[in-house]
Symmetry: C2
Subunit: 258 residues, 2 copies
């Protein structure tokens, strides 16, 4: 069983990509909707929440953990790997690897929450592999609330996306990493604002590919049931609607206290 | 010592009004920044957090509690009054009383978070006192994140405020209750969008007046120190900046685990 957690519902884009790629594996998802969002909180708080989320998933049968939240991936991965003796996947290095495999790569842009961007993790990881590539980043703290409100097609969202992307556009980036699992939901707005020639890297696809490769390399055979268990720490009718539209499948949300 | 809590930093508008009105009393403030916001979470979760916040304040010397958060006031007041044997003030009934004391009152508008508006508390409270008055309400879930980002003067914020207020404007309201302690920070945007003739009720002033009257009625004498203790459950440089700008005083934020 693959355990997946996120600060809330954005990580369902990752769960969705994993289910599409690996339909025969069971997944258990935990969205910490009672304490969402993580992206504007401190490193220590996000680490503590990530430990609790991982403990919940393992207790409920997860044998592999996917941190489907860039904020938690950027600050909590090392701590979780030290603390828990099972494979732990995060969403950042697969996106970086996918990006660095592209040709004609000169200037990369990264967008994410304040916590992710402040951690400097994308910049450090890219520079450690290819020091000559330029990396520019921009924090976009209002995009998570806009997605969670379902303001996907609103004019104000387009204006805010344009404002956030402007500094990257002036740097003439050729590739943009969506460094937050909520952002794929805004792909159709982001693409025209940054410029249609700029390649967009969606970490949900990158992590699903990585996981699939891991299963092949380690001969891990699916159990052929493909059950999806989706848990959240808080439930409202509004969360239900968003979960359904992000996961694009009928979904049975169950609440657990965190 | 007056104990004040909020989901985050919006309640500092209430703390500020109390300190202005009652400068000789000690206050202890707790902002639950590690779990902010409350306004889109379920009733049960908000009640649980409110109990924990009240326990923290009492443990640290509070003799009176002010729930400086409309969401918590609307769903948790009764539970807190049953559970804790000290006076508990909330921000809703003072605002309603202040509103109903006005002359020429026909159509009232109320804005708040989704949880506050869904609770129906303003509507019910006003109707129970003056059944003939019309009440219209609008949920404004994005205003809290916009305030917390400091987007006070941005064009997008003005557009979003206009969009949220539009249904109330078409109802030709004569009075608007700001049903969220973050909203007084946007008063200068809200006023022109709703129309300059519409009277605006700021619950932070209403609750400070109510508290002052309570002290007079009960002969509660200040201890003449006027210390302010401000605690938060999470701390970031960004939170520090906002806290300072909302409280309009130098502020010493201390972190406690919640």
């Amino acid at each position: 069983m693959i355990g997946i957690f996120d600060s809330g519902l954005g990580g369902l884009t990752v769960a969705r990509a994993i289910v599409d790629k690996l339909p025969d594996y069971d997944i258990i998802y935990f969205g910490d909707t009672a304490r969402t969002p993580y992206g504007n909180k401190s490193k220590e708080t996000v680490i503590q929440y990530s430990i609790e989320n991982t403990e919940f998933l393992i207790k409920n049968g997860a044998k592999i953990i996917v941190i489907a939240c860039n904020t938690a991936s950027s600050v909590a991965t090392d701590v979780l790997r030290k603390k828990f003796n099972i494979p732990i996947f995060e969403v950042i290095s697969p996106a970086v690897e996918m990006t660095l495999s592209l040709s004609n790569l000169k200037i990369i842009g990264v967008i994410g929450t304040r916590a992710t961007i402040n951690s400097g993790i994308y910049n450090n990881m890219i520079k450690s592999i290819k020091p000559d590539i330029k990396v520019y980043s921009a924090e976009c703290p209002l995009l998570v609330p806009l997605v969670e409100e379902g303001w996907i097609k609103k004019r104000e969202t387009r204006m805010i996306v344009k404002k956030y992307l402007h500094p990257l556009k002036t740097k003439k980036i050729d590739t943009l990493i969506l460094g937050c699992t909520h952002y794929p939901i805004l792909k159709n707005i982001i693409k025209p604002k940054i410029g249609r020639k700029v390649r967009i890297i969606d970490s949900s696809l990158a992590v699903a590919n990585k996981l699939s490769q891991y299963f092949i390399d380690n001969d891990i055979i699916p159990n052929n049931t493909g059950n999806n268990h989706i848990f959240v720490s808080d439930i409202t009718p509004h969360f239900k609607d968003i979960a359904k539209s992000v996961f694009q499948k009928n979904i049975d949300l169950k609440q657990v206290k965190q």
